[in-house]
Amino acid sequence: MTETGAVPHPAEAAAHPDHARASLMPQPAQDWQGRRAGLVSRFLAAALDGLVVVALLTAGYLTAVGARFLLSPGSFSFPSPGPWFAVMSFLGLLVVYGTVLWATTGRTYGNHVMGLRVVGAGGQRVRWSVAFLRALAYAVFPLGIAWIALSRENRSVQDVVLRTAVVYDWLPYLPPG
């Protein structure tokens, strides 16, 4: 990939080479689409994802508690899993969450809110294996995101290792192909 060489997507090039695509996106944002996102956007997206996973875990815990109560209301007590279990559940769910969403839509909920998308070096959707390794790497070493501030290409450590990129992409879908 060249940093400055924009290769138009084949589908777009074939359809309307000179036809400006009608869009309701604000003009300042249009100029930034497809560029590597910086630290603040990505940190906020990651924080949102953390909250989403915590919410999912809480929902799962409450569901389990409810089921336990329904099955044996007489001997019901709140289960108290240890902190180790809670942390491992959080990290495990984070990996599943990141893997599935990056490999399917290219964006987690946090990415979606911040208008970001995870893509491969050529702008394509990342493979399942890459998505899994990326999610695992973020779960194990979240500080890798800090490298964005120092990287001249706004890459986190995970991006450098896995050759992925996070770009501003406010459009709801990638062009087909």
Binding site: T4, R35, R117, G122
Partner: protein, 173 residues
């Protein structure tokens, strides 16, 4: 024997009369013969084919002042004589509309304007974050001169990716 010879002026006038009469008759006969001849010739000749073969129509048409001809036409009158309803009835408007919808990617516009597209508030948060990203990038560039901001660029193939040259110094509002 004496023959009365008319005076020279009278002879001339007499000869003129005879000549007129003879030439007039010859003219009539020749004209009729010529017309008949031309008629017969035209009957035997395929004039259209001859023109096609011998005449350079393109050059003639090029010499025509078509603008002047068109200027003399009353287009309004011509259009008034056209039965527009029958023209419209012959058009496949549905197919035409489908073509327009596909051409402007109307489904894409609707998608991007409805559920999946950012609301105004989210849009504001995104723009603010984008500005913060850029501010941090500028600050780090100042502290670390080796960091070359020309390279924090574009990923090919992503929606709406604009060439790096068009990139603004910072997002305006």
């Amino acid at each position: 024997m004496h023959v009365a010879v008319p005076p020279p002026s009278k002879v001339g006038a007499l000869l003129d009369g005879v000549r007129h009469r003879v030439t007039g008759s010859v003219d009539v006969v020749l004209s009729a013969a010529l017309l008949r001849l031309v008629d017969m010739a035209l009957d035997r000749i395929d004039l259209t084919a001859l023109v096609r073969e011998r005449v350079r129509l393109d050059e003639i048409v090029l010499d025509l002042d078509l603008d002047a001809i068109v200027a003399r036409l009353d287009v309004d009158a011509i259009v008034a004589r056209v039965d527009m309803e029958s023209v419209i009835a012959r058009l496949d408007l549905i197919e035409l509309a489908n073509g327009v919808v596909v051409g402007i990617d109307l489904p894409g516009i609707i998608r991007s304007s409805s559920a999946s597209m950012a609301s105004e508030a989210v849009s504001g948060v995104r723009i603010r974050s984008l500005e913060a990203d850029e501010a941090i990038s500028r600050a780090v560039t100042r502290w670390l001169p080796r960091r070359n901001r020309e390279h924090d660029g574009l990923v090919a193939g992503v929606n709406g990716a604009a060439p790096a040259d068009d990139r603004p110094e910072q997002p305006g509002r």
